[in-house]
């Protein structure tokens, strides 16, 4: 019985493999790759929504932070864009960037009701993707993320104000093996090259003393590796990428890394349609 199941599984995989189609060419995966959304295609998802403005330019946003009104009493606006090389061929290069703004109201909800401040997170990425054939592609990427936060709190005669900054450099590799028009296997490997110490400049003031601090904090146990095997499904209208692995966890949207290693889940799904027609 076990032999029969194994043979059937092999046959299915081989069948998928030989039937690998141009699906990835028409709707390539845009996460962790240099590929962009084709012109006019809108991929609508709760975690990520993007639009191919032109073939070489994708603009998008992470909707979830926009929808945090019940929790934060405000939205967290964010936007990202990716521009890829215009030439044809197996090698594609891309540059991308994103910006997320957390305003005072959101920070007050997250940190301290009396706090007043804001945070700006920006990310930048460089991607190179190489398509070996219709089935297999390899993408290499370099990510940069930075967070700057400014804040203050006032309580009667005492006050505190300050700013914090930090940034992260990381590299990644994503291999995707398309077994059928719908189904692909993927393996994501990320390496945290450098996570800067978080520098905090703060001033607290009471009638008796003013404390001005210029401090930096960094983890003594910084982990570096993340590995996430996953699967991708590309249907006519829907796309779903799911991965589960272990390692450094990168904060969604902001791209900053945790010091510890965690179980990591990578999830993206969207409904795709042509906006221009």
């Amino acid at each position: 019985m076990r032999q029969a199941v194994s043979l059937a599984a092999c046959a299915v995989v081989l069948g998928f493999s030989t039937a690998a189609s141009a699906q990835q060419l028409e709707n390539p995966r845009t996460d962790y790759t240099a590929y962009t959304r084709p012109r006019g295609k809108l991929a609508l998802g709760l975690l990520k929504t993007d639009l191919g403005v032109i073939d070489e330019l994708t603009i998008g946003t992470y909707p979830l932070p926009w929808l945090l009104i019940p929790l934060l009493k405000t939205t967290v606006p964010n936007v990202y864009l990716k521009v890829r090389s215009p030439w044809k061929g197996p090698l594609t290069l891309a540059l991308g960037g994103s910006a997320t703004y957390v305003n005072a109201k959101a920070l007050a909800q997250l940190a301290d009701k009396d706090a007043d401040g804001s945070a700006l997170s920006t990310t930048a990425e460089f991607d190179a993707s190489y398509r070996f054939d219709d089935r297999f592609s390899l993408s290499l990427g370099f990510d940069f993320a930075t967070l700057r936060a400014f804040g203050g709190a006032k309580e009667q005669t005492d006050s505190v104000e300050g700013a914090a900054t930090g940034h992260t450099y990381s590299a990644r590799a994503l291999g995707e093996w398309r077994l059928s028009r719908v189904f692909a296997l993927s393996l994501l490997f990320r390496y945290l090259i450098y996570q800067s110490p978080y520098e905090v400049n703060a001033t607290s003031d009471t009638p008796a003393v003013t404390v001005t601090s210029d401090l930096s904090a960094e983890s003594t146990l910084q982990k570096h590796f993340t590995i996430v095997p996953g699967v991708s499904f590309e249907w006519e209208r829907w796309e779903l990428n799911v991965g589960a692995g272990y390692g450094v966890f990168y904060l969604p949207v902001m791209g900053l890394a945790t010091a510890k290693a965690w179980p990591v889940v990578d999830l993206a799904f969207a409904y795709r349609f042509d906006l221009y027609h």
Binding site: A22, L25, E26, P28, Y35, T36, P38, R39, I54, D55, E56, L57, L81, V83, P86, K88, G89, P90, T92, L95, G96, G97, A99, T122, T123, A124, F144, T146, R148, T165, G166, H167, S196, P197, Y198, E199, S204, P207, A208, V209, T210, V211, T212, S213, D214, L215, S216, A217, E218, S219, T220, L221, A259
Partner: protein, 271 residues
């Protein structure tokens, strides 16, 4: 419509041809913007500088190992070299007022930190002295500035700063006295203070400036509080040193050979 077979640009090749030049111009501009994002952000973050701290090792060694060898005559000379030892002790005790703010700085820097986080940098305290009245009046009674060095998540044991006509009240012999500090200050609290921890009570202070306790003026002095007792380093006329220590019933004089006990109104005796 001709499909592109080997690339990711689906759609009409005709459309691509006519729009390509315009798109490329947009693409170049966007690439430039995307390039600026990381450049603008690279300047932030980094490790905070740890400021230099005063070196009080020599002074500490002098307190630990006095060099003079006294006899029954010279022990009285040593004793008489600091005639107002109690007032000096009380004045130095007033300096411990500052340690409360050092402890507060330690608490502030430790907020939400854990043993897995290494903190370093500097904390500057600008302390407004309360004055000599019962109700503190901040702003009109001088100030003390101290710079603390934070390394490996601890305040370094030595730190320094400057006092500017800082007026504090302190109990002296059962009454409140006016203490005024002026000039440079340097302190050694015996060991690094872990963030969130308090001051242990050990203190070595070097005051190259002035310490005024009511009508008594002390210039360029040092003092040490260890195990709750006040010590003062005295330099004899020959350049050698002894340490005077205020005890419960008198004064201990420590020289290179041992300790003399000098009770009030009685001759000093070698212990």
């Amino acid at each position: 419509m001709k499909k592109c077979a080997t690339c990711t640009f689906p759609g009409s090749s005709h459309h691509r041809d006519t729009a390509f030049a315009l798109q490329l111009r947009h693409v170049k501009a966007l690439w430039f913007v995307a390039y600026l994002i990381p450049l603008g952000a690279v300047a932030c973050g980094g490790t905070a500088d740890i400021p230099d701290t005063p070196n009080l090792q020599l002074l500490l060694q002098s307190y630990e190992h006095p060099t003079a060898v006294l006899d029954k005559t010279t022990v009285n000379d040593a004793l008489n070299s600091t005639p107002n030892l109690q007032e000096l002790a009380d004045g130095m005790e007033a300096a411990t007022y500052l340690m409360g703010d050092v402890g507060e700085a330690s608490d502030t820097a430790s907020t939400k930190s854990s043993s897995r986080v290494r903190i370093q940098g500097s904390v500057k305290l600008d302390i407004r002295c309360p004055g000599e009245l019962d109700a503190p009046v901040y702003g009109d009674n001088g100030s003390v500035s101290l710079t603390l060095a934070i390394a490996e998540s601890a305040i370094r044991r030595t730190f320094g700063g400057e006092a500017k006509a800082c007026v504090i009240k302190q109990q002296v012999a059962g009454r409140m006295a006016r203490i005024q500090l002026d000039g440079e200050l340097a302190f050694d609290v015996g060991r690094d203070i872990g963030l969130g921890q308090g001051w242990t009570g050990e203190l070595l202070a070097s005051l190259p400036g002035e310490l005024r306790v009511d009508e008594y003026l002390f210039k360029s002095i040092s003092g040490r509080i260890t195990q709750g007792r006040f010590q003062n380093l005295v330099e004899m006329s020959d350049g050698k040193t002894v340490v005077l220590e205020l005890g419960v019933n008198g004064i201990n004089v420590r020289d290179a050979s041992g300790v003399w006990f000098c009770a009030e109104g009685a001759p000093c005796a070698k212990q």
